[in-house]
């Protein structure tokens, strides 16, 4: 059983992470994590105070639990760029402060820092209007340059293929063939997946209502530091981290919005066929499981919303309806922990024994959550 402690502004409750129902937890881990949640309120996605929040919480976990594998994810730079339009010196100073911050943390606590940037962001340049299509266009989800179309007409196809800001139009058959997906229900894949050129987004059902300024750049390469030269591809990172763990404590540090200019170091490939990973569950899972899309549960454009009924299980967040296997935290036999500001992605992608993450929905700050994996719970017994 996976279990969690929810902390909403100081009020706490325990939940069974399968059903979402309230339970009563006792033991070492809840008594360890409850006061950490209580004393570290999450400042919010667009608050730069969320950067030290990650490290401060991680420090408490390291002091008490001493994990060998630690995953820290920092989504704050993404939000500061996406929503607030941070750029120039302000951005550079924030990033160099963040890098100093994590280096200092790893040095004090004896972790080999493996830093991965999810890729540079670029200025928003325009919107592709899909509201005139006769098929059902849906631009919901965290990746704003993707849209799905159901039942497109011939005219829709002509419009999309001729549009100067559309970079790719892929049919269900092409998606299934490219990624060799073995999905039970083929309708989980849209009739068409449409990808906008870097800098462009879509206007359709589900498109983002909040104002935004920058977007993920659909980068061919992303920066990585702290691993040897055998790591060339995003899916090599988890193996590199596991090898590093054989000889030393290792911290995988994921910094969203960090590009190759921000962290001048080695670069690794960030693609699977024609799909460029972008800040999303697919990219997190490629990093932490070493698996490309064909072996992931939710391919780009996955229509998870159709399964969002009463039968859907844990953790009721977007498309996520299961805990993926093969994560570093699941494979590493020793102790593992994660702290992050990308809500549910943090524990889903880390597979760590214990995770503390922010609980944010559409940027409304509901508080924080601690999650114990089955392994974490069995280790305390």
């Amino acid at each position: 059983m996976r279990a969690g402690i929810i902390n909403a502004g100081g009020w706490q409750t325990h939940v069974d992470m399968k059903s979402g129902r309230q339970i009563s937890l006792s033991g070492y881990l809840p008594s360890l994590l409850s006061p950490i949640l209580e004393s570290h309120r999450y400042p919010g996605d667009r608050d730069s105070g969320a950067i030290p929040w990650v490290t401060d919480v991680a420090q408490e976990i390291v002091n008490a639990y001493e994990p060998e594998f630690l995953m820290l994810d920092y989504a704050t730079p993404y939000f500061l760029r996406f929503n607030e339009g941070m750029e120039g010196n302000e951005w550079n100073e924030m990033i160099s402060g963040l890098l100093d911050h994590v280096s200092g943390f790893c040095e004090i606590n004896g972790y080999n820092p493996v830093i991965v940037g999810t890729g540079a962001m670029i200025k928003h340049q325009g919107i592709i209007d899909l509201t005139g299509l006769s098929g059902l266009a849906d631009a919901g989800g965290p990746v704003h340059h993707l849209a799905t179309i159901m039942e497109p007409s011939g005219k829709d196809l002509n419009y999309l293929h001729a549009h100067p800001h559309v970079s790719g139009v892929y049919s269900r058959e092409e998606i299934l063939e490219t990624f060799q997906m073995s999905l039970e229900n083929k309708k989980d894949i849209p009739d068409l997946l449409v990808i906008a050129k870097p800098g462009y987004t879509f206007r359709a059902l589900g498109s983002c209502i909040r104002p935004y300024h920058f977007l993920p750049g659909q980068n061919e390469k992303i920066p990585i530091s702290g691993l040897d030269s055998s790591v060339h591809d995003i899916t090599d990172i988890s193996g590199g981290v596991l090898r590093s763990l054989e000889s030393e404590k290792t911290a995988l540090i994921i910094i969203e919005g960090l590009g190759t200019d921000d962290l001048p170091c080695r670069m690794v490939s960030n693609s699977d066929h024609w799909y460029r990973y972008t800040m999303s569950c697919e990219q997190y899972l490629a990093i932490t499981t070493g698996k490309h899309i064909s072996s992931q549960p939710w391919p780009p454009g996955y229509r998870g919303f159709i399964h969002d009924g009463m039968k859907k299980a844990y953790p009721f967040s977007g498309i996520i309806d299961q805990i993926p296997h093969g994560t570093i935290g699941e494979i590493w036999p020793g102790k593992s922990a994660a702290v992050g500001t990308r809500s549910v992605f943090t524990h889903v992608s880390s597979g760590a024994d214990i995770t503390i993450e922010c609980k944010v929905c559409n940027q409304y700050n509901h508080g924080t959550m601690a999650i114990f994996s089955e392994k974490g719970i069995s280790q305390q017994e």
């Binding site: 929810i6 909403a8 502004g9 100081g10 009020w11 409750t13 939940v15 059903s19 979402g20 129902r21 309230q22 919107i127 209007d129 509201t131 059902l136 849906d138 919901g140 159901m150 039942e151 229900n185 309708k187 206007r203 359709a204 059902l205 589900g206 498109s207 209502i209 909040r210 104002p211 919303f305 159709i306 399964h307 969002d308 009924g309 009463m310 039968k311 953790p315 009721f316 967040s317 609980k359 944010v360 929905c361 409304y364 700050n365 509901h366 508080g367 959550m369």
Partner: protein, 312 residues
């Protein structure tokens, strides 16, 4: 938003929507209408109030010219609702009366196509708008933020509460009504008690949603309200208003419908970080408690989400 042209009041941005989103009906929140069903949430931009805590200020309180709007005629919105398997269209992002002609036209088109219509409103309406809104909607959720003129003036900028009370009284007599009360610090048991009594004397079966506000906009640095304190106050008030719900915080325990006669849970909901709730159990049989046969006031039947998928 309106302007006067040749002596006639007209909408400045007709058929211009800020967002279209599929949503669970429980998320708005509507807890006693077609449980489990899928809705198309729509909205425009602007509002008739200026609530200091507004969670949607980026749409409701910024200049409408700055909001990227989608121009879609009512027929197109209804087509999107049908194609995406939505049983209803709910105006919810901002205040519907700022775009009343467009919304009324959309509602009429939706009804012709068998789609239900609902809205969330602050209730600050003229009699004419109120009647038109009630005629257009199958269900309404009116926000009742306080019970005195002074509190309304301090919190929302409008100086009289009487239009809101009038809206609630009228709407309860002509359509399905749920009421939402956002709570901020300092929490007052007296204020919550007064609101509860006001609703109960209109109809004790009205569902009342007490929301723990996550203040934004001018109050973004205000402390989040004390959950335990609110829950203690509501514990007693539920005797007066049995369908009282307490939510808008993750892990909320006060979202399930409890049979007022035997005390069993008849509809189970949790909060996973949205405004309303998420349905996880529906135990009514023919609209009645399966344990003691008490009729629970629900408009419409349970709808299986996955059966709504069109084209699958």
């Amino acid at each position: 938003m309106y302007t006067v042209q040749n002596g006639v009041i007209i909408e400045r941005f007709p058929y211009s929507w800020s967002g279209l989103n599929q949503s669970h009906i429980e998320q708005f929140p509507f807890f006693h209408v077609y449980p489990g069903s899928r809705s198309l949430m729509i909205g425009t931009a602007g509002c008739t109030m200026d609530c200091k805590y507004c969670s949607n200020a980026y749409i409701a309180k910024c200049p409408v010219e700055e909001v990227p709007l989608m121009n879609l005629f009512p027929e197109k919105v209804v087509t999107i609702a049908k194609k995406s398997g939505c049983q209803s269209i709910v105006f919810a992002i901002n205040e519907p009366t700022v775009s009343l002609p467009s919304f009324l036209e959309l509602a009429a088109t939706a009804k012709k196509e068998g789609i239900l219509v609902g809205c969330l409103t602050n209730g600050y309406l003229t009699n004419t708008s109120l009647q038109k809104l009630c005629e257009a909607c199958d269900f309404l959720n009116i926000s009742l933020k306080a019970l005195t003129d002074q509190e309304y003036a301090d919190l929302t900028g409008v100086t009289s509460i009487s239009p809101i009370c009038n809206s609630i009284t009228y709407a309860s007599s002509v359509c399905h009504l749920e009421i939402t009360t956002p709570v901020l610090e300092p929490i007052s048991s007296e204020k919550l008690g007064k609101i509860c009594r006001f609703i109960a004397q209109i109809n004790p079966e009205i569902p009342w949603h007490v929301l723990r506000l996550l203040p934004e906009y001018m109050l973004k640095d205000a402390p989040p309200p004390d959950i335990q304190k609110i829950e203690q106050i509501l514990h007693d008030l539920r005797k007066m208003l049995p369908y009282t719900y307490f939510g808008n915080y993750v892990g909320a325990q006060g979202l399930s419908t409890i049979c007022p006669v035997c005390g069993n849970i008849v509809i189970e909901r949790i909060n996973t970080g949205t405004c309303g709730g998420r349905l996880i159990g529906y135990n009514l049989s023919n609209g009645k408690c399966p344990h003691c046969n008490t009729k629970i006031p629900i408009t419409g039947n349970y709808v299986d989400w996955e059966h709504l998928e069109n084209g699958s």
